[in-house]
Amino acid sequence: MTTTIDGSGLPSRTLLPFLDREHTIARPGYSRWMVPPAALCVHLCIGQAYAFSVFNLPMTKLIGITESTPADWKLTELGWIFSIAMVFLGLSAAVFGRWVEEGGPRRAMFTAGVCWASAFLISALGVYLHNLWIIYLGYGVVGGCALGIGYISPVSTLMKWFPDRPGMATGMAIMGFGGGALIASPLSVWLMGKFASSSDVGVFATFVTLGCVYFIFMMVGSLIVRVPAPGWKPAGYVPPATASKLMTNNDVFVYQAIKTPQFWLIWIVLFCNTTAGIGVLGQASAMSQEMFPGQITAVAAAGLVGLMSLFNMGGRFSWASLSDFIGRKNTYFVYMTLGFVLYVTVPYAGASGNVVLFVICFLIIVSMYGGGFSTVPAYLRDMFGTRYVGAIHGILLTAWSAAGIAGPVLINYIREYNVTHGVPKAQAYNTTMYIMAGLLVVGFIANLCVKAVDKRHHMKPEVDADLAQAAPSRA
């Protein structure tokens, strides 16, 4: 146990000093290109969350093995596991954001790795004892905290290493979150097939294996990550002497940032973009089959979902990279404007039976959904500076949690209402598409209202330490 000075300027005792920010400062000669793979190691693992549904059906047969028995869990009960995890993702990112920022990326990645592995091991115990509450606690609560801490852990570090291309840098990491499901889904199915027997569906052993594999991956990420030395700049990079209209060279304290209208305007922008995207992402399979009966089969719909996953992942990198050139505000204008046109086009594509147009619309929509996530850290950095951007980003992710509830509810309930009121299934989604387009108009207006943060919110060196000490770290 050693005593160090933490980010708030107060002495703190740490059990594992090698995790401290001071021990992760890069020596001269360290390549900044080592940081994106470190971030990917974490994001690829926690991205598994998007593939958790592959366990739902096998977990309804843990007792019956070949078919569900009355003692087996129901799909509706299992659905709560993912929902709890998403809620705790948002909560933990908001609550632990400042701790992540001040403790440094290695401590955060290490903690996320321990929590993520524990989530699988606790869930394995839940499967073994056939107690769903243990899985709610394991994957839902502990896993959700791993998701929140892991998601924001490399964000500000990447932007400090890549001040010349912050969008591209965070795009690489957040692309990993989208890509995690592409790995986890086939891997989980393959493992369950290997471990399954006449008396076991293989979920227990798969959870244990995944917990161990993810732990190793995330530990490697936490070991190779480094923070740049104070004052470090990439070779040849000259920071702009005067900040542009929407880019500040000053920092805003995390709890001061949430008092600014800019924070809440960006919250609305992210909420609208995510709600619209989540709505179609979760329902793409059913929607495509119902809008094009006989043209898009269940197998083809599964192919569309796969293709959408790729565009979701690719959009995270490409849109965020583009934002380095055209600016963050303009990138969100593209999301909102192009998104509006595409959502309005979907009903037309359905009515005219134009499958190609429908598929193109969905692929671009989902790429902008992913792009919305990866562009927002750099947007926050432009507005509030680099120092507390991870913590501010953590609080902003509550927009994701809110959208996770609003998106599916909007699309499901409106479809249900339409169907029960005699609207043909092929047209049941039209109203929803227009509502999503309307949401993007709201997002457009919110984005339009984003102006530079008032100077009175900027941190000043003399009050910097006082502020940090006055607001107790929450972890």
Binding site: M34, P37, L40, P186, M313
Partner: protein
């Protein structure tokens, strides 16, 4: 405490780090692409 000694990152370290993260990702992308092709069948 800032360490002033140098530690040059080698090309091998970079290749290993990117491979460690990139190979599983590429495998996942390839598998998804194969499944996605069903849309065009």
């Amino acid at each position: 405490m800032q360490n002033t000694s140098t530690s040059q990152t080698t090309t091998l370290q970079l290749v290993l780090a990117w491979s460690f993260a990139g190979i599983p990702l590429l495998a996942g992308v390839a598998q998804t692409l194969v499944n996605a092709m069903k849309l065009f069948q």
